[in-house]
Symmetry: C2
Subunit: 139 residues, 2 copies
């Protein structure tokens, strides 16, 4: 019952690389596209399976964000915040620390073991906000 011999196949290597090199929080579909640019004929199932493995082993973070459903993947596994533009759907990283004291207090009060957190700030990115203003004054 030692380690179950996980193989680092070309497909897995490609998924790993694509995620590591992406800082735009790609969806599984986008990862699939990018993987296929490197290795021909990779199946969707393989990419989904590999992403699940990476998430399970803590090498990649899974993000649920934006107006629509698709999950997104983040190579930054440290707790951090995401700025989500509700107009264009773009997601960018941000750093907002939660107060450690408040977290400790929370843990004590709720007996919930906090492993990490994700702060999602939603609003408008600069370009979309500008566009909004333009539209508003045009009316």
């Amino acid at each position: 019952m030692s380690s179950p011999a996980l193989r680092l196949t070309p497909q897995r290597r490609a998924v790993l690389d694509v995620v590591a090199e992406s800082d735009d929080h790609p969806t599984a579909g986008q990862v699939l596209d990018r993987v296929r640019e490197r290795v021909e004929g990779v199946g969707a199932a393989t990419v989904y399976r590999t992403l699940a493995l990476l998430v399970e082993s803590g090498q990649v973070a899974e993000l649920r964000v934006g107006e629509r459903q698709a999950l997104r993947y983040d190579q930054n596994i440290h707790s951090h915040a995401h700025l989500v533009c509700t107009a264009c759907g773009q997601v960018q990283d941000a750093y907002v620390q939660l107060d450690a004291g408040a977290l400790a207090e929370l843990t004590e009060k709720t007996s919930f073991t906090v492993a990490g957190y994700d702060v999602q700030l939603h609003g408008r990115c600069a370009p979309c906000a500008a566009q909004d203003n333009a539209k508003e004054s045009a009316q």
Copy 2:
């Protein structure tokens, strides 16, 4: 072009009531089940439509959380945090404020207009944490 006369039908009333009385962040499917306990034969489309209306009018918050996909709905529309158990998927409320100063600084640095935020803390709820420990010592 005055108010488009939104009718408060029995179906809508039921959805409204169900959400207002639920503090477990039900998914749309769960809302549908609960609504059907009150009003027979309600269609799924009606519940989805009504939930969308409620979200749009700001009476209900939409949550994207948990291991699986389905959206969840929250009758608590004030900015608050959610403790998400990564083992059982349970979601409970928590109160963790973001530092206003940090937010202001962020807005300035990124020119991102923040409309609101959602803090998701993930980890294990007390029962699941206990189960983990039990399993671990059993090995």
